[in-house]
């Protein structure tokens, strides 16, 4: 079973981010599967997706499922939670 790396919560003002390796799927090594949800979809959904896409691109992640559930997090929280997940993932890969 693949390991899931998690950071954050679904409390107000926070965002829950989960990253897990894609396995047994075609093109798993070069594609990501991204799912982003927000309680404030109509207001910030587009901004949130752009930010998550940028963070993923900067991280160089490939072959992962990335799930984000936003409860009104500000950008600094999104960046911090994403970085926490990445650090956990990197620790596990070394």
């Amino acid at each position: 079973m693949s390991e899931v790396f998690r950071s954050g919560t679904e409390e107000r003002g926070d965002i829950l981010i989960q990253i897990e390796p894609l396995t047994n799927q075609p093109f798993a090594a070069c594609e990501n599967q991204i799912e982003v949800r927000s309680r404030y979809e109509s207001l910030f959904g587009e901004h949130l997706r752009r930010l998550v896409d940028r963070l993923i691109a900067e991280s160089g992640l490939k072959g992962y499922r990335i799930f984000a559930s936003d409860s009104g997090a500000w950008d600094y929280t999104i960046k911090a939670r994403f970085e926490s997940c990445l650090r956990a993932l990197n620790r596990s890969n070394t």
């Binding site: 409390e11 003002g13 997090a73 929280t77 911090a80 926490s84 650090r87």
Partner: protein, 295 residues
């Protein structure tokens, strides 16, 4: 001796809660203590540290109370409570927060002067590596054990960064078995030593945050002991603490003189009866006068 540090209240804010971090500067506390220690479980230490580091870069630290008549705003003084030096977390806490714009660290469970020296050196190394003026990061130490209290003179003298000492009543009670009604001797002993060094003396939190009458009594007692301020664990405690810690006439007079001299010196450092006064000190006295006018 009158301390140059004028914080009546400092509000504890858990560093693992984004919604609290976003709002806390607006509650009107004189300073904030962003907490990486007791309010953060071990499993969340690493991610809270990252969250706090990112938060410290954001423009969310302007205090509502400090909004000036010119419509501008000012950053509230920020302290970060790091984890105790007997844990494995404190060095990573320093690496994360020293490079950011903070006033200082609140250091829990201080017991030995050598530990303060070790902390001073560790901070200096990070300040140097980050291109920050050495000595910028101040220390507000917390005495929470009988051993720490007995060593307090040496602890206060251990680093020029030390600007004050706070009393941690909950851990002190756990350490000594003394109940809350009998902490006066220890609080007073701490205050006497702190005052002998001309430092800021801070009382502990009053944990029953809905009991404002009890808070008022304990705050009045702290003021009578000579303490300068008190920590808060809930925003609704701030107003009560401020109502008790009104500045004395002597302090207001000093503040007025310093602000007048600063104006005449036009930004230069100057000597006030043997005390070096620079911009941050002038700023604190200016805030004091502003608050006293508002009150």
């Amino acid at each position: 001796m009158i301390t140059p540090y004028l914080w009546r209240s400092m509000l504890y804010v858990p560093a693992n809660r984004p919604s609290r971090l976003q709002k806390c500067a607006r509650y009107g506390a004189d300073a904030l203590i962003l907490d990486l220690e007791d309010s953060v479980p071990d499993s969340e230490k690493a991610e809270s540290r990252l969250l706090l580091k990112q938060a410290l870069k954001e423009p969310i630290w302007d205090s509502a109370e400090l909004y000036g008549s010119n419509g501008g705003s000012e950053r509230v003084d920020l302290f970060v409570r790091i984890n105790a030096m007997r844990t494995r977390y404190w060095r990573e806490d320093l690496e994360a927060v020293i490079p950011e714009e903070i006033f200082g660290l609140k250091v829990p469970k201080v017991e030995e002067p050598t530990k303060v020296e070790e902390l001073d050196h560790a901070i200096s190394r990070i300040e140097k590596a980050s291109g920050i003026e050495e000595g910028r990061t101040k220390l507000l130490l917390s005495i929470e054990t009988a051993k720490g209290l007995l060593q307090l003179s040496a602890i206060c003298a251990a680093s020029a960064r030390v600007i004050g000492v706070g009393f941690g009543s909950e851990d002190f009670m756990t350490d000594t078995g003394i109940d809350r009604d009998n902490l006066r001797y220890a609080r007073m002993q701490m205050t006497l030593v702190v005052k002998a060094f001309g430092l800021y003396a801070q009382d502990s939190v009053y944990p029953a945050f809905s009991d404002l009458e009890g808070l008022k009594q304990e705050t009045e007692e702290a003021k009578r002991m000579g303490m300068d301020g008190k920590t808060a664990i809930h925003p609704n405690q701030i107003e009560t603490i401020h109502s008790v810690f009104q500045p004395s006439d002597a302090l207001l007079e000093k503040a007025g003189e310093i602000c007048r001299m600063a104006e005449a010196e036009n930004g230069r450092v100057f000597n006030y009866h043997g005390e070096m006064v620079d911009r941050p000190i002038v700023e604190r006295y200016r805030r004091l006068l502003q608050r006293s006018r508002e009150n």
